[in-house]
Symmetry: C2
Subunit: 419 residues, 2 copies
Amino acid sequence: MTNINQYLKKIGLEGKKASRLMAKASTQQKNDALTHLIQLLNTKAKTILKANEKDIQVAKKNKLDRASIDRLIISTKTIDSMIKGIQGIVDLKDPIGEIMHLNTRPSGIQVGQMRVALGVIGMIYESRPNVTIDAASLSIKSGNAIILRGGSEAIHSNIALSNIIHEALKKAGLSVQAVQVIDSTDRSIVEAMIKLDNYIDVIIPRGGKSLTKMISDEATVPVIKHLDGNCHVFVDKNADLDKALKIIENSKTQRLGTCNTTESLLISKDIARDFLPKIVKMLHQHKVEVRGCKETLKLVRGIKAASEDDFYTEYLDAIISCKIIDDVDDAINHINQYSSHHTDAIVTENYGHAMRFLKEVDSSSVMVNASTRFADGFEYGLGAEIGISTNKLHARGPVGLEGLTSLKYIVLGNGHIRK
Amino acid sequence: MTNINQYLKKIGLEGKKASRLMAKASTQQKNDALTHLIQLLNTKAKTILKANEKDIQVAKKNKLDRASIDRLIISTKTIDSMIKGIQGIVDLKDPIGEIMHLNTRPSGIQVGQMRVALGVIGMIYESRPNVTIDAASLSIKSGNAIILRGGSEAIHSNIALSNIIHEALKKAGLSVQAVQVIDSTDRSIVEAMIKLDNYIDVIIPRGGKSLTKMISDEATVPVIKHLDGNCHVFVDKNADLDKALKIIENSKTQRLGTCNTTESLLISKDIARDFLPKIVKMLHQHKVEVRGCKETLKLVRGIKAASEDDFYTEYLDAIISCKIIDDVDDAINHINQYSSHHTDAIVTENYGHAMRFLKEVDSSSVMVNASTRFADGFEYGLGAEIGISTNKLHARGPVGLEGLTSLKYIVLGNGHIRK
């Protein structure tokens, strides 16, 4: 542990130093680094695919499950999408240095806020090596330094990617320590990293719920995270039922395993008798199992009963819970109680109900007449996302460049003193 | 401890319930409550002064130090300034419900952010009973519920104040649980309160460094805080020395014990020979002891040598450290190393130096040609402040109404599904 602490302290110190340099790097330099990175991903694709092949072989030998191996694979298509992602970040305006709300106070001083980099970001993630590129690119553009701790199963891929990131940084005249990849697979590194308050400004975990929960429970560094996405669609009595059916279908079945997939359905009692059978039929066509409340079971046959636990569950699978609801109040209360505060949607044509739902549902994304699948940095126009946050402090919802920055107050005087 | 946990859980649950009601309270209701509170402070002034008298008597009996007793005293003047503070908060626009950045995405959905209340605030503070009124008023206006844990020495005053706050809330038709004052003086309550993640969204400590440090080390609830204010004034070689002298005088001597008081002076070597003696003379006239670096000692006689520790120290007293500095780079590096990242100022007429200082000094308030004493919610136009934060995440600098709110994403569709 002493060795690990020394190792991490060195990395932390280098990160801190690099963060000071990144904070004052020009937009040109940061974009240059990203453009070089695009070129290197093209010219060195073979080296990356070869390193990735090693990880795949080890994973197969270790009998990793199919889904995890799928997430691990880098193909030429993956590289193309990495490149597209980086180009998107190049195209975004530089958030750093923006001055806002500058106004003159009665004392004569001018007060405003300046957007600045956070400092050092610690990223802890599993499997997908593309996160290495996404996170590094966002960190570079936002003027931060980043310490990346990927999963041991992706170690060869991550080292190959970090080599070309370093080459790109060097070519742009930036410190290579702005992106550090931890090349040790020692598990206790994570435990030590999340307590590195003096060197790391924020920890962003991306991975399974148990990893995220451990990090969020144990960390002394602030954590930007979401634990799970128990997302809801509520169909109000005033809903356009055609829209509702399409939104439910898209929210639940477009992708089963994403955090913005709908896991629970709330249907107003006034429309349930006619509408519920249609929903269930559609879901069954998609091979989605429906688990219903007592009222649901009365209205549609052949449905499993939902337990209390079901309504708290993020299935990430072809299962959905369903509850018949009295009215919009009942729906808001149910969601504020059972939701993981990630993303919740109402389908309604009633203005008042829509407004109340928007105001009173306490989730990071609240939607009217749209699929919960839209909760995503790209769909929201953030250019990219480093994660999705259900925190209420700092970044909430999809976290893009702005979420990796802070605001400091600036005061401009001309010899002003306080009276 | 079980009893305390049960007691706090009950308070937490009531707070959470009240926070849902406060989140949807109208601006009118919130302002009504504050206006009733002003009236009650007028009509029930006697009751408050009487309760305060009890605290003073106990404090004197317990031989509390003079400064602490001073902070404890409520006079008719204190009540007037409470009333002025509340009126200021009534006059502020309601931050809740503001929708910003609403724009239409290529998919057709509209995405924006809505400002919402944080939920439940936990405030832990010492001595000054006026914090009870300030914090409760800010919390009411920002649509939050608050749990107040004041010092045991102010318990009678705080209970008297909480009684009229409850009366004001009731008169406005709001839940009295929106402001709960913990009436037990058991010390272990603080330790339990800062771990109440399920019920409290943020902890704000106001008090001595040791209390704040304990809370920030032990809390699992996020904490908005600053530990100390080791503020700097750097006099650049291009400074207007008349302005510099006045700014140093005001920054150090206007109030000795506040967190935005300057504790360390950096003087450019190019102007030190002539200018430093004038500064020292002025500071000595104010009976401020100067502790200098080696170079300082060479230039002015009769000064104590500063230790390495001195440059890290917030004196809160008639002492200031002084260091001769090579140039603006040296000053920025020194400040980023030794400052507590609260408030730091440069005095210069050089545009480039001013801009570099603003951009590169990593503090919550960075100033040009102005006294560090301006770092204050009222001076910045926030209307009031519940504290000053040196956090980089969420609120940074003086924390007013906005610091007590969060942004959630809202998505408006018309049956939109993700392609």
